[in-house]
Amino acid sequence: MAKNYETVIGLEVHVELATKTKIFCSCSTEFGGAPNTHTCPVCTGMPGSLPVLNKQVVEYAMAVGLATNCTITQNCKFDRKNYFYPDNPQNYQISQLYLPICRNGHVDIEVDGKEKAVRIHEIHMEEDAGKLIHDPVTDCSLVDFNRSGVPLIEIVSEPDMRSAEEVIAYLEKLRLIIQYLGASDCKLQEGSMRADVNLSVREYGSKEFGTRTEMKNLNSFKAIARAIEGETERQIDLLEEGKKVIQETRRWDDEEEYSYPMRSKEDAQDYRYFPDPDLVPVVISDEWLEDVRSRQPELRDDKMLRYEEEFGLPEYDIEILTGTKHLADLFEATNEIVKKPKEVSNWLMGETMRLVKEQDMDIDEISFSPKHLAALIQMIDKGEINRKVGKQVFEEVFKNDIEPAAYVEEHGLKSMNDEGALRATIEEIVAANPKSVEDYHAGKKKAIGFLVGQTMRATKGKADPGMVNQILKEILG
């Protein structure tokens, strides 16, 4: 009988920080510039250049550390990690090994109703490398140093996760925390969040860890889940066949759903880490630490509680609204103007999410102004437009961020609120549809629906359906 195995997973998560400039020079971190245009002697490693630390990087790292319950190392240092590769202009990466900025934290996750803490071993700051591009025409490799020196933090967890679900929950949680802090946009596809999976298997009940592999090239949550499944299977198969798992770095191929070895142990690198003599120790005073702590924004767990207490929103709404910082910001900014939380929530969860799905967008790509949604809600509230027209106008708000009042005016969508005019129209319709009137009086109350429809058509949808109903009932007696 086959043995029962348990998967043991730890993650190394790289997050590109949202600073305007690089970690050791004043070059822009903007993504997508022409090759080697966001560069200088420092980030291209020219002889004689020296690094100067960007303080904002330290603040973001501290913020993430505080939000993940870490201890902040108030006297931390940068070390050099030495290895030769053309995307690494100095042939050493400035990183932190001996004294990382954050240590001993944890993140609480929930999977299938079960709560669990995933411990964080450390968070350290480092610089990103450039990008190698192979030119098939000249058969040459070219280097773009625009990304060289973009600040990263690496969040190293303990091997506390046991399933793909736990890994995804942990990553989702990290992503939300970091997005809420504004420290990064954490986009896996664009590489601003990258996760390497360290995985081993062992028999249930065993206290020893098995030999682990490290998997790279995981570009989506789905790929991560598949990679965990695939690698677990591969390792169990090896053990079942009486073979050994080799400690190595493997590259996940999501198309083939299989991992391939990248480096074997023979050329295992000795990075010869040592403290970077060009940088002075980073001394974080109590004042600085308190200042960053006091500026920590409200994180999701607190926000969820507040939404319930302050706005009395249902759990379901809260779950979705706080699911991304962007949506929560939109909700709060809109509600700040209209002070109708449930109404705002309905628009965001209903129409907004419908359009996001329809357009196959990311929630973070929603770009309309809260004041335009607020204006729309207020117009409906005042009866200036009816709900149906409202939805039509909202599509324009959503797609083009139009100013609702101007749009309604321009397209003549204002509700027909002149009771006299509406009554005259309805009288005409009643006169033209004796059959329906007869049916109504014969007890077929549904017949009134046809008459309402006719009225709406005649008014091009601008009439307030409530008012139409009321007048009809008066006329029909």
């Binding site: 002697p41 002889p47 020296l50």
Partner: protein, 491 residues
């Protein structure tokens, strides 16, 4: 007195007074270069005469307009070839950078240029400043202008020889373990290594980053103070740069050592010290004592540990600092290679000289996993203990005096065959870098062969002014030092 054996400050005064033009000053230096450079090889590159004259004219115009009033305005200077100079090749005397043309100038050079300096050229050095003789240069050895069968010292041997021979009026050197003070001593000039952090390292191609410091190499102490005052500055581009309260170093040019407490470390006068050097240094100490200084002997027991600690730390840093020279972006690339790793290997094997490779290997070894604690961390702890010992000494003494080197300049070819012996020659200079202290070497005599001897004075961190005062007072009592025969040659 011919023009080229004036000091920089004397020349600066005459230029300011309109007695000598900047062009004349440059011509004088160029003439001397023509006369002696072929034999001495002080420079890796002398700038094109037109380029020098163009700059001279520009500076002259600024002086005439009253825009440049400093003591060094218009005075021609030589720069050690490990300081980046925009548009002028900067080679570190290595094949691997034989064609490297920096896109920016080092901060120290910019400070000089802002003060109206005219650069004559880039001086020869031991490859990547690794060496004590200027014999490891890819561009050939520099010879000692006092006796061309001898080395000028190193690694700033080109700068020292150029100043001594009158091939420039002053020069910049860099000092990681004595590379300014030792060649200054061998060439009979004044050389100072300032407190770590005083002169920006931005643009200095690093050897041992935690030890490297740029400093003046001059004909006398007055020039030394003027040059230090010009190049020292706080630089936000260098994280190890220090914002000092005092930059007015020339204010310390005072002939007065009354009550100055001088410590003489017995450990600096033990075995291995040439008796002629010892006598000359002690004679100089006597001079200061006669002028009112209080002299006392004491123990500096950590001295023997400085050399191993230094070679571990400096080599470790160098192994990483020099890894960027890989043939990918600039400099030498092997012509014939097979794939990336072979390119790295061949480029670096062919591009670096033996001494550089030795130190890269040494440094890589001490940083390797399993050896880091035993070597690198131990060396750092030794460094801390050395600093501690100096701190204690400076509670008692204002300055510490010893020789700059155990011998006068050795003969060409005598040192490289025994690197360990060469390393031991750095014994008096190295601990100064480990402790970050300022040190100055001042000529104090000549041996029987006629080779110069230097006295080294050390002060506590940020006390360059004390050093300058002591060195200036000694110099006043000593009187004018002998003129180097290479200078006499042209007259």
């Amino acid at each position: 007195m011919s023009l080229f054996n004036m000091t920089a400050v004397e020349l600066g005064k005459k230029i300011k007074a309109g007695e000598i033009s900047v062009a004349q000053a440059c011509q004088a230096a160029l003439e001397q270069i023509k006369a002696t450079e072929k034999e001495l090889n002080c420079y890796v590159k002398v700038l094109d005469e037109n380029q020098i004259m163009e700059r001279a004219a520009k500076v002259q115009a600024q002086i005439d307009a009253g825009e440049l009033t400093g003591p060094l305005a218009g005075v021609p200077v030589a720069i050690k070839d490990n300081m980046c100079t925009e548009g002028i090749t900067t080679t570190c005397s290595s094949k691997i950078l034989y064609n490297f043309n920096p896109t920016f100038s080092s901060e120290a050079v910019l400070n000089l240029e802002r003060a109206g300096a005219v650069i004559l050229g880039k001086t020869n050095m031991d490859e990547f400043a690794m060496g004590s003789t200027t014999e490891t240069s890819y561009f050939g050895e520099t010879k000692n202008p006092w006796n061309t069968e001898h080395v000028p010292g190193g690694s700033s041997g080109g700068s020292a020889a150029a100043v001594a021979a009158g091939e420039c009026f002053y020069a910049l050197g860099s000092d990681t373990g004595g590379s300014i003070r030792q060649p200054a001593s061998f060439c009979g000039i004044v050389g100072m290594k300032p407190t770590y952090g005083t002169v920006s390292r931005y643009g200095l191609i690093a050897y041992g980053s935690s030890l490297d410091q740029i400093g003046p190499m001059t004909k006398d102490v007055t020039d030394c103070a003027a040059v230090l005052e010009t190049i020292a500055s706080y630089d936000s581009k260098d994280s190890t740069s220090f914002r000092r309260e005092d930059y007015d170093f020339t204010s310390a040019l005072v002939d007065d050592v009354k009550g100055l407490k001088i410590g003489i470390p017995k450990d600096y006068f033990g075995d291995g010290l040439d008796p002629e050097v010892r006598d000359a240094v002690l004679k100089a100490v006597k001079v200061l004592e006669e002028k009112g200084a209080i002299v006392e002997e004491f123990n500096l027991t950590m001295v023997p540990y400085a050399i191993p600690a230094y070679y571990v730390i400096a080599s470790a840093e160098a192994s990483s600092n020099l890894s960027r020279f890989d043939g990918v972006k600039y400099g030498y690339r092997s012509e014939d290679f097979n794939g990336l790793h072979n390119m790295y290997k061949k480029t670096r094997s062919e591009g670096f000289g033996a001494e550089v490779k030795r130190r890269i290997m040494l440094g890589s070894f001490v940083l390797s996993s399993g050896y880091y604690d035993a070597y690198y961390l131990k060396a750092l702890r030794t460094k801390a203990l050395i600093k501690q010992e100096f701190d204690q000494a400076f509670q008692k003494y204002d300055i510490i005096i010893g020789p700059a080197a155990p011998t006068t300049a050795p003969k060409l070819g005598a040192s490289l065959s025994d690197p360990l012996k060469m390393y031991l020659g750095d014994i008096y200079t190295i601990s100064v870098n480990l402790a970050g202290l300022p040190g100055i070497s001042v000529p104090c005599g000549r041996d029987k062969q006629g080779l110069p001897i230097g006295i080294q004075m050390l002060a506590d961190c940020f006390h360059e002014k004390t050093l300058i005062r002591a060195a200036y007072s000694y110099e006043q009592a000593r009187g004018a030092f002998d003129v180097c025969p290479a200078q006499k040659g042209v007259d």
